[in-house]
Amino acid sequence: MHSKRPTKPLPNELIELILKKVPKSKLVDTMCVSKSWHATSSENMGCSRRGTSSRPASASRHSPLKLSPTKHDNSMPPPVVLRRRNSLRSHTVAPMAKLIKSLDFGLAPNPIAKVEHSLPSKKPILSTPKTPSLPLSALSLESPIPFGSERRMSTTVPPKHTQSSPSSSNSKLENIREKPSLHIETEIQVFKKEELKSPYGSWSHRFVSPLLPLVAQLIPHLKEISLKGCHVNASDFTILLESLTQLEKLDVSYSTLKTQGLSQISRFCRHKLVHLDISGIFKLGRNKSDTILDISAYCTGLTKIVAFDCPEIFDDILEDCKALSQNRIEFVTGPSTE
């Protein structure tokens, strides 16, 4: 009646359930089975860390900085709990940190339809963190994060830092945690006054700079990092790039990086870097397009630059970049909102 093998493959949700129960030592084998198994297994192992901007419904409203691990991650309890108890012992931290290949602070805006309303902002545009029209394709690899105004107060950082060095990072996390809470009420009032339904988080919630030296110290072998929409200092960014020698994919779209920080890319990421996302940071005269020429000339491994929403990268600059890189670099550009 039954054939020897399952007639239809088990759905992914059941595979997830099963793989959760497989011992860690065996996950290496399950990672080799297929692409979807690889994704599920590596999630269980903690190879990829991704912050989410959404606040769980149960979260206390007084903890704006919500640390949440990737979903379905049973292996590591949420770091908020982890600080006090169940913390991983120091000898397990180092190997676990080695497994992390990609890090995403998860602060990208969500391309939702209602963002058009927020376009005519009375505030100086430099202080509004995002341009609303992030093209869908830029987010297509990941599930977009709902970043509605009601979630403005929650910010995340990847849990790794707390696990790795609880004492040092916690103090910093505490600092960050206090900042947004102080501003919540005033901000809400400001937003109400101006009748702005901005879907964006405010800058103070996006200040991840203190975490970057920690990342540099603990996971220097990182291959992908996304600083989408983060508030970053040039000095911390320099420390980060200096350490991440294996970096292949860098996403600095809609971040606060200025020329000083951007020039470090051509200084430190010369050989390994393959993919660079600079969407939305070349506008309003913030950055000079010279840096992009430098990057094209010096980053010899670079094959793709995503530059949506960069009205100040003109066609002739693109031509120059292509000439400098001997047509190695593929530019993905999109319409700007201006």
Partner: protein, 159 residues
């Protein structure tokens, strides 16, 4: 005692005690919401041979206390002997049982099913065997050499 009628996908009709079948949250919700006892409930995703195994499980666990809200993490082979006996199935039948448990929403059966499959995975020597068991075709995702390299790297990290 009131009973519930079920029809499997191969048109076999079962009449079961409410107490027994109410371990399935699906049936429980259906019956309590609709309040219909006479009409048989069709189960298009479940064959009679699978339902037999499910009923065996339900009979074993008839008098169990309701499961705690938070599932307790247990070792892969930590289960009572009856369950172990019940789960001595061919792999393909086990997959059907897990699907049925998922469909009928029987957390206990789903749990022991998953744990048994995890145990099976643990017994496999390498990923070829796992592919064979789960009937996963070879993908163009990564070549054998790339997989070997990835494995070596991972093993190096984990020690």
């Amino acid at each position: 005692m009131a009973s519930v009628k079920l029809t499997t996908s191969d048109d076999k009709e079962y009449t079961l005690d409410r107490e027994l079948i109410f371990q399935s949250n699906l049936i429980k919700n259906m019956v309590t919401d609709l309040d219909v006892f006479d009409a048989p409930i069709p189960l298009p995703n479940v064959t009679s041979s699978t339902l037999d195994i499910v009923i065996k499980y339900l009979k074993i666990h008839k008098d169990d206390p309701p499961p705690p809200d938070k599932p307790i993490e247990k070792a892969v082979d930590d289960m009572i002997d009856e369950d172990k006996e019940l789960m001595k199935l061919e792999f393909n039948i086990m997959a059907d049982v897990i699907l049925a448990a998922n469909y009928l929403d029987i957390p206990g059966l789903l749990d022991i099913g998953c744990r048994t499959v995890a145990w099976h995975i643990k017994q496999c020597k390498d990923y070829h065997e796992i592919r064979e068991k789960f009937n996963i075709p070879k993908e163009l995702w990564r070549s054998e050499e790339e997989i070997a390299e990835m494995k070596k790297e991972l093993n190096g990290i984990l020690g």
